[in-house]
Symmetry: C2
Subunit: 318 residues, 2 copies
Amino acid sequence: MSAPAVPTVDPVALRRALGTFTTGVTVVTARDPDGREAGVTANSFSSVSLDPPLVLWSLNRRSASLPVFAASSHFAVHILAYDQEALSNRFARPATDKFASLDVKRGAGGAPLLDKVSALFQCRLAYQYDGGDHVILVGEIEDFLATGRPPLVFHGGAYALAARKDAVPPPHDIPLAPDFLGYLIGRCHYQFYGRLQPRLAAMGLSMEDHFIVSALGVAGPLAPADLAAAISYTGIDLSPDRLSAMAESKVLDRDCNGRIGLSPRGRQMFIAAMAAAKDVEQDVLADFAPDEAHLLTQMLSRLVARTDPGLPDLWTQG
Amino acid sequence: MSAPAVPTVDPVALRRALGTFTTGVTVVTARDPDGREAGVTANSFSSVSLDPPLVLWSLNRRSASLPVFAASSHFAVHILAYDQEALSNRFARPATDKFASLDVKRGAGGAPLLDKVSALFQCRLAYQYDGGDHVILVGEIEDFLATGRPPLVFHGGAYALAARKDAVPPPHDIPLAPDFLGYLIGRCHYQFYGRLQPRLAAMGLSMEDHFIVSALGVAGPLAPADLAAAISYTGIDLSPDRLSAMAESKVLDRDCNGRIGLSPRGRQMFIAAMAAAKDVEQDVLADFAPDEAHLLTQMLSRLVARTDPGLPDLWTQG
C-alpha cells in the first residue's frame, strides 16, 4: 500500500470553507439557435477585464443547461436584487419549465431577460475554458444596465443582506458607550421618541396613551387583562384611572363584552400617529439604503424575539 | 462616417454596475523561485470545481506582481476576516514592501501566509487563461483551512458586513409592527431593560438613577447643567430632590467647584451596572455572529447620530 500521490480533500469541509467567500447571486440565461432556453442560478460570477469588458462564471459539466449555453452566441447575467430570493430558488433547481409564468423580454442572441434585478450584463460568449468538473464561460459585455436596486447577498450558506461598515463616527459625546448595546438601543429609543413626541402631544396623546392606542389599533378590542399583557413589556401602569381618563377624552370605547377598543376618534388618532411615526422613520433612515433599512428591522426583530419575556425557552435553546 | 463596429462601453458606469455584485475580499500571495514575493488584494475570486478542487482569480496584466505570480508554482488565497480592512488596504496599493513588519508563515511553494483570516486556500497554479486586460489564474487546492472568523465584505464600492436575512419570524403578537422602526426600537429598549432592571434594583438603582450614574461614570464629574445636558435625551427630570436623594444614599459627591461626581460607592455601582449590562447583552446577542453583532451596533450608532438633536444640520445635509 502506497500513499496517494494526489492530496485528498474533504469535499464537505471544502465546500464550507469556500462558502466563507461572500458573493452576490446571479441568474444567467441563454437561448440557443434551436430555441431551447436555459437559466441557472450562479454565484461564481466575477468581473475579469474592463478593456475589453469581460466577465466570467462557471457551470457544472453535468448541468442539463450546458448544451444550451455552449451552443448560444450570447448569455445574460442578472445580478439579483435583495427581494429576489424566489427567483434565485426557482433557477437553482433542475426543472424543464423554469421560465413558466415569468414575463421575460428578449436580449442579445434571444436570451431571456428578467425584470427588477440590480444589474444586467448582456454578453457575447467569448471563451470556454476548462475548469475541472465545471466549464468557465467568459463573456464580452455588449450592453449593461444598473437599476440602483440593492443586491441580494449569499453569505455563509444563506441569503443575507449587507450594510456598509464604520460609515459614521459615533457622536462625540459617547466615548465609551458605542460598545454598550443597551445604551445604544436606549438612546435610539429616546431620540426617536423625542422627534415623535411633539407630534403626538399636538394630538393630545402622551407617550403612554400612544402605546395603548397603538396596541388597540393593531390588535382590535381587547379584554382589560389582554390589553395589560399586550403592553406589559413597556412597564406602563394600566390603572383604571388612566383608562377612565382616556375614555372621558373619547379615545376609548368599551363594548358590550367589557372589551376595550378605540372609539372613532381614537382610530383617527391611531392612524395619524402611525403616519407621524412613519414620517419620523423616513427622515431617520434617510442615509440608509433600502437593503440596509430592511436589514436593520430584521436585526431588531431578532432582538425583540430574543428578549421577549414570553418566549424564553424557545430562544435560549437555539 | 460609419457607425463603430464594436459597441462602446462607458468604463465608469460599467465599473459601477459590476460593483453591484457583492463579494468577499481576498489577499493572494506567492513567492517565485528567485525569492521575490507578491501579495495583492482581489475580489475576483471564485470557486470553480470540487473534483478536482479548483478556484480562480484575475490579475491585471499591468500589475507589477504578475511576473511573480506567473513564475510561482503556487499561490495562497486568504479570505479576509471582518476586522482585516487594514490588510486589504495594505495589499491594494502598489508598494515594494507590502510584507514589512507582518509576521508571515510559509506555505506551499514558499507563499507567505497571513494570520487571522476567515479561510486560506493553498493552491498549485494549474492554468493561466487569457482574460482581456487581466490574466485568469486557476489554482488547484492542495490544502485549506477555515478558521470560523466571519468574513469581510465588499458591497457597493465600500467595506461592509453581511447578516443573514429573514432568519427569525417576528413574534406572533406583532402582526403589523415589524414595519415600524420606532415600535421595534422601543420594544427592544423596554425588553432589554426588563432584563437588566431586576439586577439594577438589587443594587438599589432605579432606571433613572442608572442613567445618572452611567453618565457620570463615563464623563467624570460634571457641573449640574452639563449633567442635565448629558441625560437630556432621556427626558429624565434632574430635580434637586432626586440629586439630594442620591447624595443621601451616598451614590453622588459634590466637589469644591460644585460639580457632581460619583462617590466611591457610586463608582462601584457604575462598574457593577456595566458588568450586568454586558451580561444581558451577551445573552441577548447569543444567536448573532460576531460580524452581525458588530453590524448591529454600527447601525444603531448611525441611528443615534442621525437622531441626535444636537447634530440636526450636520446629518440632514448628508
